[in-house]
Symmetry: C2
Subunit: 144 residues, 2 copies
Amino acid sequence: MSCVLCESDGGLVVARTPQFRVVRVTDGDEARRFPAFYRLIWATHAAEFSDLSDTDRHACMDAVTEIERVLRSLLAPTKVNIASLGNVVPHLHWHVIARFDWDSHFPAPVWAGAQRDEVAGGAAARLALPLEAADAAVAQALTC
Amino acid sequence: MSCVLCESDGGLVVARTPQFRVVRVTDGDEARRFPAFYRLIWATHAAEFSDLSDTDRHACMDAVTEIERVLRSLLAPTKVNIASLGNVVPHLHWHVIARFDWDSHFPAPVWAGAQRDEVAGGAAARLALPLEAADAAVAQALTC
């Protein structure tokens, strides 16, 4: 069966290890509304988190935690949201999203309805530093 | 600061350990639409997953994984959804939700809009076994 995350990167790759890659979402409404939106995508095809071995699960969540720590440290979000859904693409991936009390949907989940107008010109401009700096810090945290 | 998950159970408690409790969501639209909807709620107040020690993080996700395994084994869901959001209640809790291709929102997240009518009489009746049996299996997996 064809799987889009087996066949393509699924975003801007900011880090890659033998076990997983981390991408930043760079297109569509999500990227404009929630610019610090990263996904950890498991390298091999697995549908559910519990399909991984214990060792792999721990490594996976250690990496998710590192991404969260970088986002907290650099961007001081109001909250970090972490989720593994995969209803549309059942290839294990974790969303790690920096949320801000000024973003278009806060405090609703990013998948719910908007609570207010989007930031004019894109939310990225309101972040404490350019996304490329966050990308670099995520890459350094996961591959050094 | 007052915290609803410090002050109340937040659902029907099915398991409790010194580190966390697991509740099943039993009221509101969520329970009617997504009956096998569990939450692991960390016992002590922590806002973000990365606030936990490494040992606690691993124990937390080991337990989340056990819940997922029970749901897969007993209910054969189309997909399991796992998420830690906490924008409204920033006290660490993990949603673990059995999703079915016939549920009102699938494949959309439970927080998005409905895709079809709800199951008449409540979705619980379509599950392979009563929720009390799933509760008991979750409790056994986490406390035995």
